[in-house]
C-alpha cells in the first residue's frame, strides 16, 4: 500500500493491510496511541473526512492530507507511516494525566512568536522559508490567546506548494490560565493558505487540571 492508501484506509476506520509501522505513534483527539491496533481503534472510534475532497501533499519523507476541516500529517520512512498527527476533529478521547511543566517560552523580553530553524527542514526549499515564516507568525498573531507561540515541527515543499506541521503553545484564560501545546497543520499554494487546528487538543487542555506536581 502507498502511504496515501494507508491513510485513506485509516480515515475510513479500516485496518490497513500494510504501510503502518509497528512503531508508529498517533497524536490526535487529545491523546496518544502507540502501535497499529491502538491507532486503528482511534480511527474506528472517530472516523474522518468521509465524502470530503482531499488535497494531498507528499514527498519521500512526509505526507499531509487535508480533507475539509480535518487533516492528517505523517512522517514517512521507506513508504511506511512512521508517525502520525490527526487534526481538526472536535471529538476528543480521554486525555491522559501527567505532570504539568511550568516554563517560559521566550527566554527574553523581546518576544519571538515563531520558532523555526530552516536548516532543520531539509525538505523545505529556500524559496519557501519566508512564506513559512509568515504563516507561523500569522498563526501566533491571529490566535487570540493571551500568549501564543508557534513551533515549526515539520515542513516540506516549495514557495508555490507545500505543507507544514506546527506545535502551538498557548497561555490563555481569564480568571484562571490554561497552558499547553496543541498542533496545527498548514498547506499553501502560490497565493492561498489553508490551516487546520487541533480542536480536540484544545478542548482536552481546557478540561485538564493544571498539576505541576505528582497528580493525586
Amino acid at each position: 500500500m502507498s502511504a496515501l492508501e494507508t491513510l485513506t484506509a485509516l480515515m475510513r476506520g479500516e485496518h490497513p493491510t500494510s504501510g503502518l509501522l509497528h512503531t508508529c505513534r498517533l497524536e490526535g483527539c487529545g491523546n496518544e496511541s502507540y502501535g497499529v491496533e491502538a491507532i486503528v481503534e482511534n480511527f474506528r472510534a472517530l472516523s474522518m473526512g468521509e465524502g470530503t475532497d482531499q488535497i494531498v501533499f507528499e514527498d519521500p519523507a512526509h505526507i499531509a492530507v487535508f480533507a475539509g476541516e480535518e487533516a492528517l500529517f505523517a512522517d514517512v520512512m521507506d513508504g511506511n507511516i512512521a508517525r502520525l498527527w490527526r487534526l481538526g476533529s472536535d471529538d476528543f478521547l480521554t486525555a491522559e494525566r501527567g505532570i504539568s511543566v511550568s516554563f517560559d517560552p521566550d527566554l527574553a523580553q523581546e518576544r519571538q512568536s515563531f520558532f523555526f530553524d530552516p536548516e532543520m527542514h531539509p525538505a523545505l526549499s529556500s524559496n519557501a522559508v519566508d512564506k513559512l515564516t509568515r504563516i507561523g507568525q500569522d498563526l501566533a498573531r491571529n490566535d487570540g490567546a493571551y500568549r501564543t507561540r508557534v513551533y515549526a515541527l515539520r515542513a516540506f515543499g516549495t514557495g508555490d506548494r507545500g505543507a507544514a506541521l506546527f506545535a502551538v503553545y498557548r497561555l490563555d484564560g481569564d480568571d484562571e490560565r490554561t497552558s499547553g501545546f496543541t498542533h496545527a497543520a498548514a498547506a499553501w499554494g502560490a497565493s492561498e493558505t489553508h490551516v487546520v487546528h487541533d480542536v480536540a487538543g484544545q478542548t482536552a487542555l481546557s478540561v485538564q487540571p493544571w498539576t505541576p506536581h505528582i497528580p493525586v
Binding site: 509497528h22 506545535a167 506536581h213
Partner: protein, 357 residues
C-alpha cells in the same frame, strides 16, 4: 576501537518494518559467541526481546543473561538470571499481550568489556491481571517508555541498567502513586536496612562526579555539555542553545512539549526540588540514523537533597537519587529530540522514606 559511525550496515530499527526486523539471514556483523540466528547486534537485542517477551520463551533468559547478571534499577538491584525469569513471568501474567515496541537501539563496541546497547521500547499492553505495581486488574490498555541499557558478551547480558516510566504507568491505570510509594517505603523500612546500601554507594559515586571519558568529536559531547551546564553550573539558558528552537521534549510522567523553554522547565522543576545537587555522565553511545540524523544515548545520574516544596510534595530533607537514560536525535549539530526516562515512582518512594532514604 570501533568509531560510533562504523559498520553502517548494522542499521537502526527506526523506520524498518517488523518483517524486515525479524527476517532471518546471514550475519551482517562479527558476533563471536552469539547464536547463529542473530545477524548483528541490533538484531540480537530486537530479536531476543521478541523471543523472550512476545513468543513467551522466557526460559531463553537462561542463555541470554549471565547467571550472576546484575540489573540496576532505581527500585533496587536485581541479581541473577532466575530473578529475571521470575520477574518476566510475573509481568506477563498480568499483561500477557505485552508488545515491546522497539523504537531504537543505540549501541557501542566497548572493546573487551563487550557490546553495549541502549534499547528504547514502548511497552504496550492490557492490564488484565493483578500486578504488584499496578494493582488489581483494570483492563486498561496502556503504554510507557522503557530504556534498557545492556552490556553483552557472547550472547549474554552481563549487566543491565533499566529505567521505566513507572509513574506514568500507574496514572494510566488510575492508580494512586503516593499510596503505592508510601506502601513500598513502609516495606523498605522493615527488615535489613543494609539491603539498601547500594543506593548510598550509588549516591557517593554520583557525588564523585567522575564522568565517562568522551572524545570531543563524539556526538554525545553535545548533550553531556548541555546537561553539565544545566545541572552543574545552573546555566540553563546556555545549556538550551544545544537544542533546536522547536526541539521535541519528552520527559517522564507525560511531560511532553517543545522548545528550549519547555526543556528548561523540565529541568528546573526537578532542580527546584533538589538542593546541593551532583550530576554524572555514566555511559555514551551514538549511531547513525536514516536520513543523516544521529542517535545519541546518554546514561546519567543525579543526586540532591529534597528541600524544595512542590513537585514531589513537601520538603522531606532526604537525599534522593535519580538514575536516567536520555536518547537524543541530532541534526546539524543540534538536538531536535530529547527522550528522557527515569522511574519517578522510585523517586517519590525515596521521598516517602523508602530504599534507605
Amino acid at each position: 576501537m570501533m568509531r560510533w559511525n562504523d559498520l553502517p550496515e548494522v542499521r537502526s530499527p527506526m523506520g524498518r518494518t517488523l518483517d524486515d526486523l525479524l527476517s532471518e539471514g546471514p550475519r551482517r556483523q562479527e558476533l563471536p559467541g552469539y547464536e547463529p540466528i542473530y545477524r548483528d547486534f541490533v538484531d540480537y537485542i530486537i530479536r531476543c526481546t521478541h523471543r523472550i517477551w512476545e513468543q513467551k520463551n522466557v526460559g531463553l533468559c537462561r542463555t541470554h543473561y549471565a547467571p550472576d547478571c546484575a540489573i540496576h534499577t532505581l527500585a533496587g538491584p536485581v541479581t541473577g538470571v532466575e530473578a529475571v525469569v521470575q520477574n518476566t513471568i510475573t509481568t506477563l501474567a498480568a499483561t500477557p499481550d505485552r508488545l515491546l515496541i522497539g523504537e531504537d537501539v543505540i549501541w557501542s563496541d566497548d572493546g573487551a568489556d563487550g557490546l553495549y546497547s541502549s534499547h528504547r521500547i514502548v511497552s504496550r499492553s492490557t492490564h488484565m491481571g493483578d500486578e504488584p505495581l499496578l494493582g488489581a486488574a483494570t483492563m486498561v490498555s496502556n503504554g510507557v517508555m522503557t530504556i534498557a541499557d545492556c552490556l553483552c558478551r557472547e550472547n549474554r547480558i552481563v549487566e543491565e541498567w533499566l529505567v521505566r516510566d513507572n509513574l506514568r504507568g500507574v496514572l494510566q491505570v488510575g492508580g494512586d502513586p503516593w499510596a503505592i510509594a508510601k506502601a513500598q517505603a513502609m516495606a523498605d523500612q522493615a527488615g535489613d536496612p543494609d539491603r539498601h546500601n547500594w543506593r548510598r554507594a550509588k549516591i557517593a559515586e554520583t557525588r564523585e562526579q567522575t564522568d565517562v571519558s568522551i572524545d570531543s568529536d563524539h556526538p554525545a559531547a553535545v548533550p553531556v555539555a548541555m546537561l553539565a551546564a544545566a545541572f552543574l553550573d545552573d546555566l540553563y539558558g546556555d545549556a538550551a542553545t544545544h537544542l533546536s528552537q522547536a526541539a521535541e521534549i519528552r520527559w517522564p510522567t507525560n511531560r511532553h512539549g517543545y522548545g528550549r523553554g519547555f526543556w528548561i522547565g523540565c529541568l528546573t522543576q526537578i532542580r527546584g526540588a533538589l538542593h546541593d545537587v551532583a550530576w554524572r555522565a555514566e555511559h555514551i553511545a551514538a549511531r547513525p540514523l536514516p536520513g543523516g540524523d544521529i542517535a545519541v544515548a546518554l546514561r546519567w545520574s543525579l543526586t540532591g537533597v529534597h528541600r524544595g516544596n512542590g513537585l514531589w510534595g513537601w520538603s522531606s530533607g532526604r537525599e534522593i537519587l535519580i538514575m536516567a537514560v536520555s536518547h537524543y536525535r541530532m541534526r546539524g549539530g543540534l538536538i531536535i529530540e530529547d527522550l528522557t526516562v527515569f522511574d519517578e515512582l522510585a523517586v517519590i518512594r525515596q521521598i516517602a522514606g523508602g530504599l534507605g532514604a
